[in-house]
């Protein structure tokens, strides 16, 4: 692999997550390199979302280490992880539904901004500049999705958006935190084929134009094949295969995990 010489941006070593005896993740080693798109696949309950939760500190890792740009994330609060440069989306879209589209992307720049109560009360120049700046960046991020989230939609509450647009806004919100690594949890779930094809293209552009490294959980194999540089397969919290799509797709262990014992015979 050409990226092997580089230092990984994200690395887990022997990562384990324990839910009262149930090992959701068990000794997972994973490395993501800058500018890489890694897909994580596996049957339901394989521990994919738990992996995301552990990386973003939403659940605590019970063993092993998570290193981001060479520094450990263990013991940090979720908001600290985000300000280090990791952003995520959620499997079941979780927007700030009653805030407007623009406010959604403005509020997620919180950890990149400094102004406090006094700036707001005195309406200082620094405060106004910062407001203008985050509004600007918010609009820039939203315009990444074409005409769908711009114009009159800036001031619409997020819940009025269609399902596909909500998913897009979630990605925009993650982009607005100015991350280096984005974790996408089933970004095309529930979308129709046209929409998911379009979003697949966008994931590629996220890497090419914005320079993010991306880890994506996805069930849609079409999308996985299209976007991934590398595929990691989890089953029962254990990595059972890793490699490019073509190799993984014919791996007997993977087929068995998906289709059950005897399917390879």
């Amino acid at each position: 692999m050409s990226t092997a010489a580089q230092q990984p941006i994200l690395e887990t070593r022997g990562l384990g997550v324990d839910f009262g005896g149930l090992k959701a993740l068990d000794g997972l080693d994973l490395a993501v390199y800058p500018g890489e798109i890694v897909s994580v696949i596996g049957p339901n309950g394989a521990g994919k979302t738990t992996l995301f939760n552990a990386i973003t500190a939403t659940v605590a890792a019970s063993e092993g280490d998570i290193r981001f740009e060479g520094e450990s994330l263990i013991g940090l609060d979720p908001n600290r992880v985000t300000s280090r440069g990791i952003a995520r989306t959620f499997q079941n879209v979780r927007l700030f539904a009653n805030m407007t589209v623009l406010e959604n992307v403005m509020v997620s720049q919180h950890c990149r901004t400094r102004q406090s109560v006094f700036g707001a009360l005195l309406f200082t120049k620094a405060f106004r500049d910062e407001e203008a700046e985050i509004t600007e960046r918010g609009k820039e991020v939203l315009s990444f999705f074409g005409h769908r989230l711009v114009g009159y939609r800036f001031d619409q509450p997020a819940y009025t958006l269609s399902y596909a647009n909500r998913r897009r806004l979630e990605i925009a919100r993650a982009m607005a935190t100015q991350p280096k690594l984005i974790l996408l949890d089933e970004p095309v779930a529930g979308m129709n084929p046209t929409e998911s094809a379009e979003l697949t293209g966008l994931i590629g552009r996220l890497r090419d134009e914005w320079g993010f490294a991306i880890v994506v959980i996805e069930h849609d194999m079409e999308v996985v094949r299209e976007v991934s540089d590398r595929v990691v397969v989890l089953d029962h919290g254990v990595k059972i295969a890793e490699g490019d799509y073509a190799d993984v797709a014919v791996d007997p262990q993977v087929i068995e995990a998906y289709l059950g014992h005897g399917a390879t015979a």
């Binding site: 700030f96 406010e103 509020v107 919180h110 950890c111 707001a120 005409h147």
Partner: protein, 620 residues
């Protein structure tokens, strides 16, 4: 039952022919001919009648009619006591005629059906009182039910005996219920004119002491004497004049007010800001000029309302913006009052620096902010119900600490701190309880500060973070918001705003006791916020004016001093009614309305989006 009303479960209505455009009033439903007068949904009428009757009996046995009978609305014709007995039949009579306007459900033009249904239901509700009259005459109800007084029987019977009471209340109920039904039948313009007249009469009777006070200040007592009877209540001629005047005004102004509001809402950018600024300045001017003409009573009332506006604005930041349900908000009011007392009063037991009020205020803000931090730090790590319970506990703990023997060396225990000097304002004026006008101006100034703070913060990075935490705390944290800090900040800002109110309170009243900071105060402030409209500054002010100004605060009398005994009962009833009829509050915030009616709005938006997406997105 020959007819099924829409709210009754029943067979689905027969499919209607496709609705023709412009066929119905709002384009949603089809008009159907009026229902036959006697084909009523008797079961529904019986159910509502029974509920109303129980309500009537409850009101009577709580002794409300007797207590309120002393307050006349129109001299010799109607007292507040009798009014409390006709509200339910009217509401029930009107409610029975209610039809849902829904697509595909036929909407029957209202007619005799509604009037007769209303009359029947009203008679049942009134019949509750007939039943009560019979029970009072034949059994000794005083034993288990101690609240009502024997005068009730006379009041119900108009001093004419039980048989008369039985008949008259059935008749009154039927008449009032029919009137309620009739409200459904008359055109909306007539309804609006009628309501304006009724509300004007009721309003001017309620505001009697206020208007008299104001008129005296302006030197037009003669006019007031013509409207109001010497022993309270409107005179008959005055009532007729007021009703006629307001009726004509409502007829002339029809649609204009709404139109003006729509025009202001339709304005954009600077023009809209200018219109809003004009409104704010006009309101401010009225509030500055009005007290000059008003006497002590009005100013006292305004000052009380202002104190609660200040408290409610503080709580609004905590509950309305950050979504932290704080049931112990009185703690900050108490800490503000006590620290102001200790810092200014010479009689303070332990330390008495006797600082001037404005200097002491700095200490008050710092101390209350610190207490906010101390209470907030453990509390905000909890969520939802747990958090509410814990804040409730802390509210009580603070009060008990002030009451305790342990700290009585500092705060005087149950004796409190007395002889607190008024607030000296840079040598210009002395603000003390003896001069309610100066208190009101001081309160007004701090309300202006609180409004500015709320308004600026809501539109800032901090305010957005608060809203994000309210919406979804987990996601807010994953989006890089330090939820602990942000929530703590909300707690402290709320505490500081509450402490302003406390500091003014101690200077106004001149003494502080632990008994002034009961849990009831927290509840009342919360009710003010919810009733007025959570998350909306104007709503909070309106809620405080209505609840504190008219009904009265926990210890402060309102305009309807007769209500003081039933204040909590009425608070509760109002709150329940509000949650059912208008959960977003009196004057809601746009956001909160959206939140509560999300489904309907989302549906509309989705429908719009569908057509839009069909036209736009597939081509790209």
């Amino acid at each position: 039952m020959s007819l099924t009303t829409p709210s009754e479960p029943g067979p689905p209505p027969a499919p209607e022919p496709a609705p023709s455009a412009g066929g119905a009033a709002n384009g949603l439903s089809n008009d159907a001919p009026p229902r036959p007068p006697f084909a009523q949904d008797w079961r529904r009428i019986a159910r509502m009648g029974a509920i109303g009757a129980i309500g009537q009996i409850f009101i009577s046995l709580s002794n409300m009619p007797v207590k309120l009978d002393g307050r006349a609305i129109i001299e010799g014709v109607l007292s507040l006591g009798y009014l409390s007995l006709v509200v339910l039949p009217l509401a029930a009579g009107s409610r029975v005629g209610h039809q849902l306007r829904r697509e595909g459900v036929p909407f029957h033009r209202p007619g005799a059906h509604e009037v007769i249904g209303g009359a029947a239901c009203g008679a049942l509700v009134g019949g509750g009182l007939s039943l009560l009259a019979v029970l009072i005459a034949n059994f000794d109800l005083r034993e288990p039910l101690v609240n009502w007084s024997p005068i009730l029987a006379e009041l119900l019977a108009f001093n004419r005996g039980t048989a008369f009471a039985v008949i008259i209340w059935l008749a009154i109920g039927a008449a009032v219920g029919a009137a309620g039904g009739l409200l459904r039948v008359v055109p909306s313009l007539a309804r609006r004119v009628l309501w304006t007249m009724v509300l004007t009469l009721f309003g001017s009777a309620v505001l009697e002491s206020l208007t008299t006070d104001l008129a005296e200040g302006m030197g037009i007592e003669g006019l007031v004497d013509w409207f109001y009877a010497p022993r309270g209540g409107l005179t008959i001629t005055g009532a007729i004049a007021l009703a006629a005047g307001s009726g004509v005004l409502a007829f002339v102004a029809r649609g204009r007010i709404k139109g003006a509001k729509a025009r202001i809402d339709a304005l954009e950018g600077p023009a809209r800001n200018r219109a809003h600024l004009g409104l704010i300045l006009a309101t401010a001017a009225v509030l500055v000029i009005l007290p000059m003409f008003a006497g002590k009573l009005t100013n006292e009332l305004l000052a009380n309302v202002g104190l609660f506006v200040l408290l409610a604005l503080g709580l609004n930041i905590v509950v309305g913006l950050a979504g932290i349900l704080d049931l112990g908000y009185v703690a900050f009011f108490a800490v503000g009052s006590y620290s102001a007392a200790v810092l200014t009063a010479a009689t303070s037991p332990k330390i008495h620096p006797e600082l001037p009020w404005f200097v002491a205020l700095i200490g008050v803000v710092l101390l209350t902010g610190l207490v906010g931090l101390f209470i907030g730090a453990p509390v905000i790590r909890m969520r939802g119900d747990y958090l509410a319970i814990v804040t409730l506990g802390f509210g009580e703990i603070i009060r008990l600490l002030f009451l305790s023997d342990w700290l009585s060396g500092w705060f005087g225990g149950s004796q409190g701190i007395t002889n607190i000097p008024g607030a000296e304002i840079f040598g210009l004026a002395e603000v003390a309880g003896t001069d309610p006008r100066s208190v009101f101006y001081l309160v007004l100034a701090f309300c202006a500060i609180a409004i500015y703070v709320s308004w600026r913060l809501e539109r800032s990075r901090i305010g957005r973070a608060w809203m994000a935490v309210r919406e979804d705390e987990t996601v807010a944290e994953a989006m890089g918001i330090n939820t602990v800090n942000v929530k703590l900040l909300a707690f402290v800002v709320g505490a500081v705003l509450g402490s302003f109110s406390g500091a003014i309170f101690s200077a106004k009243v001149g003494s502080v006791f632990p008994a002034s900071f009961l849990i009831l105060v927290s509840i009342v402030i919360l009710v003010v916020v919810i009733f007025g409209g959570m998350g909306n500054i104007v709503g909070v002010i309106a809620g405080s004016a209505v609840l504190i100004g008219v009904l009265g605060g926990p210890k402060q009398p309102g305009l309807l001093a007769e209500f003081s005994e039933f204040k909590l009962l009425i608070y509760g009833a109002l709150l329940v009614w509000m949650m059912l009829a208008r959960p977003e509050g009196l004057i809601p915030s746009v956001r909160r309305t959206r939140e509560l009616h999300q489904e309907e709005l989302a549906q509309d938006a989705w429908l719009r989006g569908q057509t839009e997406d069909d036209n736009g997105e597939d081509q790209s």
